[in-house]
Each structure stands twice: as C-alpha cells, then as structure tokens.
C-alpha cells in the first residue's frame, strides 16, 4: 500500500465489483441514490416484539419484491438451503452475488479459481441461531438440535458459502473485529493480493443482529438510542447534542478486490484503488475509547503514511460516527490529524441513514465512499441539527454536497479497542 520509496514496485489493488444490502434496500445504486437524497432506513423493530426493551428502533432490511429493492430470499438462496444459514449469511450471499456479478470475474481455469479468494467477516455472526438453539437445549431437546446449527452460526461461513457457490479456491478467511470488521476485511484482503497470495479477493462484512439477544445486549451496554422510539427517523444523529446512542442496522457490504494489471488485462471497470490502510489498538477499555480517541488518531495516521500521502490529499472522511458520545472524540482525532487541512475537509456519517451495521458497517461505508469519488458528492449527515460542539470541518449536515473528491478515508472502530482506517482513490 506504499506508493512511495522502496515499495513502489509492489502490486496495486483496485476495486472492480461492489454489492450491498442495507436498511435502505438491496443494491449499490439504490442505496446510493437514497443516501444522496437524504432518505433513511429506520423504523420500529418489526422482526420481533421489542416492546419490553428500552430501544425499539432499528434499521431492518426491507422485505419485498427484488425489483423494488426488497429482500425476497428465494431469489438468492434455494429454499432448502435457507434453514442451513443464519440471516447474516443470507445477507452476505445477497451482497456477494451482486458484487461478483458486477465485477464480471468468472474464473474458468483451475489456476484462476485458485487465485481467487474470499474474506468476509461479521462482528457477531449467527446470534439468533445461537439463541434458538439454546432454547432447544434448555427445553431438554438437545438431541433435536439441527445438524446445521454450527455451520449456520459460524462467522466464516459467509466466506465458505461464497467460495462454494462460485468455486473460488484461493485463501478463505474471515475477520472478526466487532464494528471494525468491514474495514479490516478489505484492508487485509488487499494486502493478501499485494503479497501475492491471490489475484482477486471477495471481501467485506455481513451482519444480522437485530434480534432479541442483539438488541437487549447492546441495550444493557447502554449503547443504543432509547429516546426516539416514536420518531425512528430522528434516532441516529451523529455529532448532534441530542444523540443518545446508536441505532442498530443490518445488512452486508462486499467488494471485489483485484490486482491492477489483472483487472486491466481483462478490461474490468475499475472503481477505485486501495492506496492506504492503517490499524491500531487502544489498550484502554473494552468499550470506551481513550481521550482524544488517540487510537483512532494512530489508525488514521498509519493509513495516511502507508498511502504515502499527506492529509492535504484527502477531501472526504466517512466517519465511524455512530451517534454516541464517542463521535466528538473521533472529531478531536480527525481535527488533530488534519490540522489546517481540516478547513477544506468534508466528513459525514452515513450511519445517520443506515444505522450501525456492526461488522458490515466498514464495508458498506467504503462502498458509499467509492461512490462519493465517482460522483463527486459528499453524502449527508442526517439530523445534525445542533452540533454538540463546533468544528472547522464541514460535516455535511442534512443535505449532500457536490465537491471535488478523488481521495477518501473511511474509519471503523470496534469494541475491544480496535481501530481501522482505509484510504481509497479514484483511478
């Protein structure tokens, strides 16, 4: 990922396919047009009765006909296989199918298949499946546990199913770093291509934790918004003074990463290049970032350094910005890193429209950022009515902005104090 110095001869990695499913619906283009239009994907939780929980709002993937952006599972996963997978795998398969088809990459030879890998992670995995299996055991029916319980719940099974579906026999891996998963998956998969382990990697994250355990668990950790149950569209409000926690979303974001010469040789369309990637650990607290979000600062700094750039080269930051108290700490870190360059910067949180997709967030947001480069549009931060503190950084409140954007940085941070930043540039 170093474009300067001794590493200049190294393999470059580009994005040649994208797929997405989110509370805004199925499909990358539908998602992007709704994001730019300032729409949101929130409602009261409909998949189970949440009336006894403090948080009753979420971003759920809408059911409905495929052609209108809803999820009709049988269009994607054969009926007999559906029960062998938790919902996070369903959503991962939907997004992976779009991404692989979008890339046009169909390896015919055994060698090409062996040079194509998969790296799709999740933050939590098959939580609802684990819950249901636990109830079966508790009821004294352990012998009735489905033989598909374990493979339905395992996080790396999105990667497994995608490899089986397409015959991709290269590295088969999976990232689990809570809410930093999506960025780590893309960054690590890009490095696999750079190091020569593969020529093509299908990478990203999937999550489906809008279930009783997921909502109740994050409620207990005091992480979710609870004051907007009657106005779901206002619940996710990054940097706003009235924010009171994140809103859980579900979905998947998947990209096809490809070695640059490989992509060029087959005439693939190229969306962007992965030019920088940085990581860090907080070594501070299991759920809270340190003062000034110094871990985030170092992740971003490492990404900028690995890209061989300065902050003056970056026009847009897609913030982690979950609509929690930590938003201002991330802002502190970005202001400190960018210094005077912050005055020219646009930074927004698309979680204001989708909610927090946990392990899928980083991948979904990388895709939005790539489209920001393609269309020279900074997507908005919804509900930023009264910032809890002022900043020289334009946080794109309420409405999208046309801006010249060729290089972006996207942040994702996870419980456990894990931070990842990625830098993408138009090609």
């Amino acid at each position: 990922m170093q474009s300067t110095g001794s590493m200049s001869g190294q393999r470059r990695v580009v994005v040649t396919g994208m797929g997405m499913v989110s509370p805004l619906g199925l499909g990358v283009e539908r998602n992007w047009s709704r994001i730019v239009a300032g729409e949101n994907g929130f409602g009261r939780i409909s998949s189970f009765d949440a009336s006894d929980l403090p948080a009753q709002v979420a971003g759920e993937v809408p059911a409905g006909p495929t052609e209108s952006g809803g999820l009709t599972l049988s269009d994607w996963v054969p009926v007999k296989d559906q029960k062998k997978m938790d919902r996070f795998i369903h959503l991962g398969l939907v997004a992976a199918t779009e991404a692989v088809e979008d890339s046009g990459w169909k390896p015919e030879s055994e060698e090409d298949r062996c040079r194509t890998g998969v790296m799709i992670g999740a933050g939590i995995g098959g939580l609802q499946t684990i819950y249901e299996a636990s109830v079966t055991v508790k009821e004294g029916r352990a012998r009735r546990l489905s033989p598909f319980f374990i493979p339905s719940a395992l996080i790396n099974l999105v990667s497994g199913h995608v490899s089986i579906k397409y015959g991709f026999k290269g590295p088969n891996h999976s990232v689990v770093t809570a809410c930093a998963t999506g960025v780590h998956a893309i960054g690590d998969a890009a490095r696999m291509i750079m190091l020569g382990d593969a020529d093509v990697m299908v990478a990203g994250g999937a999550e489906a934790a809008v279930c009783p355990l997921g909502i109740a668990g994050f409620c207990s950790a005091k992480a979710l918004s609870t004051h907007f149950n009657d106005t779901p569209e206002k619940a996710s409000r990054p940097w706003d003074r009235d924010r009171d926690g994140f809103v859980m979303g579900e979905g998947a974001g998947i990209v096809v990463l490809e070695e640059y010469e490989h992509a060029k040789a087959r005439g693939a369309k190229i969306y962007a290049e992965v030019i920088g990637y940085g990581m860090s650990g907080d070594a501070h607290h299991i759920t809270a970032p340190a003062a000034g979000h110094e871990g985030a600062f170092r992740a971003m700094q490492n990404a900028v350094r690995s890209a061989g750039l300065t902050t003056a080269d970056i026009q847009y930051v897609n913030a982690h910005g979950t609509s929690t108290m930590a938003d201002d700490l991330e802002l502190d870190a970005v202001e400190r890193l960018f210094g005077d360059d912050a005055r020219k910067l646009a930074m927004s949180s698309t979680k204001s429209a989708t909610g927090h997709l946990l392990g899928a967030a980083g991948a979904v947001e990388a895709i939005y950022s790539i489209l920001a480069i393609r269309d020279n549009v900074a997507p908005p931060t919804l509900n930023l009515d009264n910032p809890s503190r002022e900043s020289v950084i334009d946080r794109v409140a309420h409405t999208a902005q046309e801006r010249k954007i060729d290089t972006i940085l996207s942040n994702s941070f996870g419980f456990g104090g894990t931070n990842a930043s990625i830098i993408l540039r138009g090609v």
Binding site: V79, K80, D81, K84, R144, S146, P147, F148, P151
Partner: protein, 79 residues
C-alpha cells in the same frame, strides 16, 4: 399408499426441496435426491419428531432410501 408413506414423502419433499415425483420408494436420499450427510441427519430427526419414534444411530445409518424409512417407521409403529 399408507398414511406413513405419505407423511414420509412429504417430509422428504419439504426438507430436500425436491419434486414430489422424484420421491419414489427406491430413491436414495444421497444418490438420487441430492442430500448430503448432514441432510440425512436432519431427515432422521424430522422422522423422529413427526412419528414420535426413536431411531438409534445404527438404525439411522441403514436408512438410505425412502422405502428404508417407511419400512423402519411402520415396523416401529406396529410393535
């Protein structure tokens, strides 16, 4: 066809997602109906549940066709 045979057929169709016409008595779950080893474990569980019978592991291993299943269950029910 007996009531048991009917029910077995229905369970097989439902669990393996195959066309009813393919579920003939001699059809092998694995060779003819596309099941894998985990599918057959689940099928046996479904039979146990639907007919309130216990199918021990060594008996389950011998149930490889639709007819095997019907015969085993009919024998259990008659006993």
């Amino acid at each position: 066809m007996s009531e048991i045979a009917d029910k077995v057929k229905k369970i097989v169709v439902e669990h393996l997602g195959v066309d009813e016409s393919k579920v003939t008595p001699d059809a092998s779950f694995i060779d003819d109906l596309g099941a894998d080893s985990l599918d057959t474990v689940e099928l046996v569980m479904a039979f146990e549940e639907a007919f309130s019978v216990e199918i021990p592991e060594d008996a389950a291993e011998k149930i490889t066709t639709v007819k095997d299943a019907i015969d085993y269950i009919e024998k259990q029910k008659a006993a």
